[in-house]
């Protein structure tokens, strides 16, 4: 991944989180997509993605436990 080394500020945690959420959902705006690829770095997105995948699994697990407990 070769992101152009500009001196633009990389996106903040909140907007990275939103971008990963958008990726989970499957829809992203062109503007955010350009921003992420122009100034973001790979690893923070990957880590966020893995963490959110794990939390999704946990969420489903909790939901099933909750439904079965009733």
């Amino acid at each position: 991944m070769k992101a152009p080394k500009e001196n633009r500020e990389s996106p903040g945690l909140w907007s990275m989180l939103l971008s990963v959420l958008a990726a989970f959902f499957g829809v992203q705006t062109q503007r955010n997509y350009q921003r992420d690829f122009a100034s973001g770095r790979f690893w923070p997105y990957a880590v966020l993605g893995i963490v959110m995948a794990l939390s999704f699994v946990g969420l489903v697990y909790l939901l099933v436990a909750l439904v079965l407990a009733q």
């Binding site: 959902f25 499957g26 829809v27 705006t29 062109q30 439904v67 079965l68």
Partner: protein, 369 residues
């Protein structure tokens, strides 16, 4: 044209009338769970119909009213986040809405607790074995449709290929739990009216249950391709009122005792040959064939075979204990001492095999213990 228009409602009427005979839809069944599954199925079906009508309606409308010949111009744009989110969120909401009733039904279906009767069902090639746990009742249930009907030599009966010698009998209004497993290959125990379809897998035990309130006879089939006679191992469930069920239990136990006593009496060759032929047609014919010649290369023939013509010891052993690594099953538990003795005697004296000796039921009864 007018005829066609008038004919259409008539066709609909006809479709309703003939529905009972030719059912395309899922059967409603006779248990609370089967009806719940049916209702769920219809709910989901109508949701799918509604989605189909909307999607194809919009598509057809667009195709007709915005066609090129009418001067429609394509609107070229690349992305529209709002529309993309809408067409992702809407199916998501529909799926969740469908999952709520589906989950409720699934939870009910898988609640195997508090059964009043446990029955172990074991699939064999090609019959079922029913063991009433705690009742010492254990029997095999195999196809009873005569071979002549199968071979088109006789008119087919009403329950062609859906009839058995010993049906599974359960009490009405009681929760009955089925524990399913198999002896050889994977089978599947399926009775549509009870909405029970469960794989019977060697080495595993699967659970299913039912409560049938109405006494009656319900028929099903093996639903997992299990070899040559997969289509010839039907299931018949007879639901009896509690009093009738109790009477049946007593009757079966008495019959078991009678069979044990029968083994001790002395049998003539003619008697054994007669019983032996019946047993052979029920238990052996599928593989070894009516003429005793088997299917060359697949199932060995018994006519002129060294085992059937030799010393009775190895012959008895192979019938009782089966043969490792082949399709030959162990019939030790499948047949009574009398049936085993009779069929072995039959095999040694039929189709030109003339050993002349007879294997006695008492001899087999001793080996079975």
């Amino acid at each position: 044209m007018i005829k066609t228009i008038l004919g259409f409602p008539a066709l609909l009427l006809f479709a309703t009338a003939s529905q009972a005979a030719w059912e395309v839809n899922l059967p409603r069944g006779v248990t609370e769970v089967s009806r719940e599954i049916y209702d769920l199925h219809m709910t989901i079906f109508w949701i799918c119909v509604a989605i189909g009508v909307v999607v194809f309606g919009v598509m057809l409308w667009s195709v007709i009213y915005h066609r090129k010949s009418r001067g429609a111009k394509a609107h070229n744009f690349h992305e529209n986040v709002l529309v993309e989110i809408a067409w992702t969120v809407v199916p998501f909401i529909i799926l969740i809405a469908m999952a709520v009733p589906a989950t409720a039904t699934l939870i009910k279906m898988y609640d195997n607790t508090e059964a009043e009767l446990d029955i172990q069902i074991t699939g064999y090639q090609w019959k079922w074995r029913y063991q009433y746990l705690g009742e010492e009742i254990d029997f095999f249930s195999s196809l009873s449709t005569p071979r002549d009907q199968i071979n088109n030599a006789a008119v087919k009966g009403e329950h062609y290929l859906l009839e058995v010698d010993n049906p599974l009998v359960i009490p009405a209004g009681k929760k009955v739990r089925f524990l399913l497993t198999a002896n050889d290959v994977i089978h599947s125990w399926w009775v549509p009216d009870l909405a029970v379809k469960k794989d019977a897998i060697p080495g595993f035990i699967n659970e299913a249950w039912t409560i049938v309130n109405e006494p009656g006879v319900y028929r099903g089939q093996c639903a997992e391709l299990c070899g040559k006679d997969h289509g010839f191992m039907p299931i018949v469930v007879e639901v009896k009122a509690q009093a009738d069920f109790d009477a049946w239990l007593a009757e079966v136990k008495q019959a078991d005792q009678d069979k044990a006593a029968e083994a001790q009496k002395s049998w003539t060759l003619a008697e054994l040959m007669e019983t032996g032929e019946e047993v052979y047609n029920k238990a052996c014919l599928a593989c070894h064939q009516a003429n005793g010649e088997g299917i060359p290369g697949v199932f060995p023939g018994l006519k002129n075979s060294p085992i059937a013509l030799g010393d009775p010891g190895p012959h008895i052993d192979v019938v009782l204990n089966g043969k490792q690594g082949t399709a030959m099953q162990a019939f030790r538990d499948q047949l009574t001492a009398v049936e085993l003795a009779a069929v072995i005697t039959y095999e040694r004296n039929a189709w030109g095999n003339k050993v002349g000796d007879l294997v006695t039921p008492a001899q087999i009864a001793e080996l079975k213990e």
